[in-house]
């Protein structure tokens, strides 16, 4: 269940992610890694408290230590203003429009997913590519979020069970174990 997008929007997003970084023999694609959940989790960051912006430290528990990444940092007033501007847009609020209106990620995704069309999932690859390219700037935004959702920490909703890290032989957040001097100099 998506936390912010509708079921129908989530389906279109899933198909768009699959087209952007498909699964191959070399690793999970964006969908298998949970990128749609990563994006929906960012768009709906303020549906949880503290908002799902910054995972806490110092460790995830994957290499020992406490599983602190599972909870998120409370935001300061200035942090909250910045992240609400980024996600929700300025929405005419004077305190968010000191340099003019800001379009948020929610609006960018909602309008782009609508423009891709309800029949996007069933469309051919060629049609999907053409529609993705037709929404100004959206292909790049979605691709960058795919990279973050694939290769960021799993606590943000993507990189399920660290599967994308495993596929590229990246150990991930190694604290508190770190690497021994021998593993650094003569691995």
């Amino acid at each position: 269940m998506p936390t912010w997008l509708t079921e129908a929007e989530f389906e279109v997003l899933t198909a768009a992610c699959d087209r952007t970084v498909p699964a191959t023999a070399h690793g999970p694609g964006a969908v298998a890694a949970g990128v749609p959940d990563y994006i929906d989790g960012l768009l709906g960051a303020f549906t949880v408290d503290p908002p799902r912006i910054w995972a806490r430290g110092p460790t995830s528990g994957r290499f020992g230590g406490e599983a602190a990444f599972a909870s998120f940092h409370p935001l300061s007033p200035l942090d909250e203003l910045a992240w609400r501007m980024r996600i929700e847009g300025s929405q005419g609020r004077p305190e968010a429009e000191f340099n003019g209106p800001v379009i948020g990620l929610q609006e960018r995704y909602r309008s782009a997913l609508a423009a891709l069309g309800a029949d996007f999932c069933a469309a051919s690859s060629e049609v999907q590519d053409a529609r993705l390219a037709a929404v100004d700037g959206f292909g790049q935004l979605l691709f960058h979020h795919c990279c973050e959702g694939l290769y960021g920490a799993p606590e943000y909703g993507g990189n399920r069970e660290a599967s994308a890290w495993a596929a590229i032989d990246f150990a991930g957040d190694v604290q508190p174990r770190g690497w021994t001097d021998a593993e650094v100099t003569e691995p």
Binding site: T20, V21, P22, A23, T24, H26, G27, G29, I53, W54, A55, R56, G57, P58, T59, S60, A68, F69, H73, S76, P77, L78, D79, L81, A82, W83, M85, R86, F98, N99, V102, G139, F143, H144, C146, C147, E148, L150, Y151, G152, A153, A164, W165, A167, I168, D169, F170, D173, V174, Q175, P176, R177, G178, W179, T180, D181, E183, V184, T185, P187
Partner: protein, 547 residues
């Protein structure tokens, strides 16, 4: 009771001053506009546990600030661009308790003795105002040693043949050399260069109650989860432990208030938006070489040189693809450097003559690779090739690279002023950066880039590529994109002549008796070295001069 000093900025400059003042019995307030993620909020004599090995948090989501949506800067390459060509992030140093020290990978080289007498030793350059510093290496040496001992610096005595004399050895031996660096060091030595273990403020052994670095690899641009990096947490916790320092985080100084030749205190904007006045005997400005001139301009300080001579290090980045894995994700991000491109040789002197310049200088060369997978992923094209490229990983697993911190000359046209219309979320005009490299920087880049590529080829590179930062945007030949070096210097130049410099040799404004600039704003030249140790050393020296 009136405070002895208000210190604006909690980075290495402000922290070094706070340490000296509180040790001497002064009572100080450290005012920081960013959040406190560095010190334990329940016991500020100890570090916090907010930092982590988290690329999303540190690289993609502005955890250390500033967030460019609420604290933007603006940029242009010259006045011919109009008011600005960019609004957003411009060479941001963290806006957080600990400032730039929190995200740096802790390389803290000293400057060379000759760096302080560039005009006398090498002579002038066209269009630039090259000058000697009003302070010598020998005068700074005791303070260099004091700061090195406080933050804990690992290094190898005698390893750099170009270094100035040291009264005392490095506090710690160097940490474990990185796999790739062992090979790039050997290749550089075969070509006649002199690489050495980078002086690094990351513990190689337990030091001052903090543990040894455990090589996690999340170093450059990350806060250290175990606080093996001592800059500036060691200085701040020591100041807090005296009981004579108060940390006011999420508090913005909007103005320094003056009566005649003296500052009476500062106007503050607090986290909830309320404002108040805070009085002190001295005001120490350590907000960095972009925010410090911004604050002085917001405070109506006037001087023809204020904001001018911004230097950022025009970086030459040379990458090579190796036929073997380089393991750049293990270790301190950078363990080795060399100074040969600062010192120069017959080839570089010939290149200068060929270009019609009397001399060129490059910068410190860092031996390093690339460690972070999100950053890597964004460099490849989307589609079915993406997974395969990530698995093959030509620009992470098999990459080795040099970054040369090229010396920027001080040009009056490279500057910081107040943007005429863009504001921050608190409603104040933001800093506008006007910057473009001069001919010296471009000639040095063109000369040293291929020579660095030769070292990578000697190391076994199958391909090499030379780029610069700022790089070339869409407009053509001249580098015109926004600087990303994070090494901001100049803008409030120190000197003995009040007509050509804004502060005296101890960082005190010529025109005001009790306002001292204690950061890299006062730098006269940029040298080819990272500014951190020298700015903290100048700050410690300035503070000793006052107490």
């Amino acid at each position: 009771m009136t405070l002895d000093a208000i210190i604006i900025g909690s980075g290495p400059g402000g922290s070094a001053a706070a340490d000296v003042f509180t040790a001497a019995g002064w009572t100080v307030a450290i005012v920081e506009k960013g959040r406190n993620h560095l010190l334990d909020p329940d016991d500020m004599t100890k570090p916090s546990s907010d930092y982590s090995n988290d690329e999303i948090k540190f690289h993609n989501r502005y955890f250390l600030g500033p967030d460019p949506l609420v604290e933007p800067r603006t940029f242009r390459t010259s006045e011919e661009d109009g008011d600005r060509v960019h609004v957003g992030e411009v060479n941001s140093v963290p806006s957080t308790v600990g400032g730039g020290g929190t995200h740096a990978d802790g390389k803290v080289p000293r400057f060379m003795p000759g760096d302080f007498r560039l005009l006398s030793d090498l002579g002038p350059q066209p269009d630039a105002d090259v000058a000697d510093w009003p302070v010598t290496y020998d005068e700074l040496e005791p303070f260099y040693g004091q700061v090195e001992r406080a933050i804990g610096v690992a290094g190898l005595d005698g390893a750099n043949p170009f270094a100035g004399p040291r009264a005392d050895p490095f506090p710690m031996p160097p940490g474990a050399p990185m796999f790739g660096a062992v090979r790039s060091v050997a290749a550089a030595e075969r070509l006649g260069y002199h690489p050495y273990p980078a002086p690094t403020a990351a513990n190689s052994v337990p030091y001052d109650g903090r543990p040894a670095c455990n090589n996690c690899g999340f170093c450059a641009f990350f806060g250290c989860p175990i606080h093996a990096k001592g800059d500036p947490v060691a200085l701040l916790t020591r100041a807090m432990a005296t009981g004579r320092a108060e940390l006011l985080s999420e508090t913005f100084v909007s103005k320094i208030c003056f009566e005649g030749r003296r500052a009476t205190g500062v106007d503050l904007v607090q986290a909830d938006g309320t404002t108040r006045f805070l009085a002190a005997r001295y005001v120490i400005v350590a907000a960095g070489a972009i925010e410090t001139p911004r604050l002085l301009l917001l405070s109506d300080v006037e001087h023809p040189a204020l904001g001018r001579y911004l230097m950022v290090h025009f970086q030459t980045i040379v990458a090579g693809g190796m036929p073997y894995r380089t393991y750049a994700e293990r270790g301190r991000s950078v363990t080795h450097v060399h100074d040969d491109m600062i010192v120069g040789d017959e080839l570089s002197r010939q290149a200068a003559r060929d270009a019609g310049l009397s001399w060129i200088r490059g910068g410190l060369v860092e031996h390093a690779g690339a460690a972070m997978p999100i950053m890597e992923a964004k460099h490849y094209p989307p589609g079915a090739v993406h997974n395969q490229l990530m698995a093959d990983s030509p620009i992470r697993k098999r990459l080795w690279a040099f970054t040369m911190q090229g010396e920027d000359l001080p040009y009056p046209g490279n500057r910081v002023d107040l943007d005429p219309s863009v504001r921050d979320a608190r409603g104040f005009p933001v800093a506008r950066v006007t910057y473009r490299p001069g001919r010296h920087e471009l000639v040095a880049h063109e000369h040293f880039g291929p020579r660095l590529a030769d070292i990578l080829k000697e190391m076994g590179a199958e391909w090499t590529a030379v780029t610069s930062s700022p790089g070339r945007g869409n407009a053509g030949f001249t580098p015109d994109s926004v600087p990303e070096s994070r090494h901001n210097m100049g803008t409030v130049r120190m000197g003995t002549d009040p007509r050509t410099s804004v502060t005296d040799p101890f960082g005190r404004l010529h025109d005001y008796d009790n306002v001292v600039v204690a950061d890299s704003s006062v730098f006269v030249t940029s040298t080819g070295y990272g500014p951190t140790l020298t700015l903290a050393t100048l700050s410690a020296r300035a503070a000793h001069h006052l107490v």
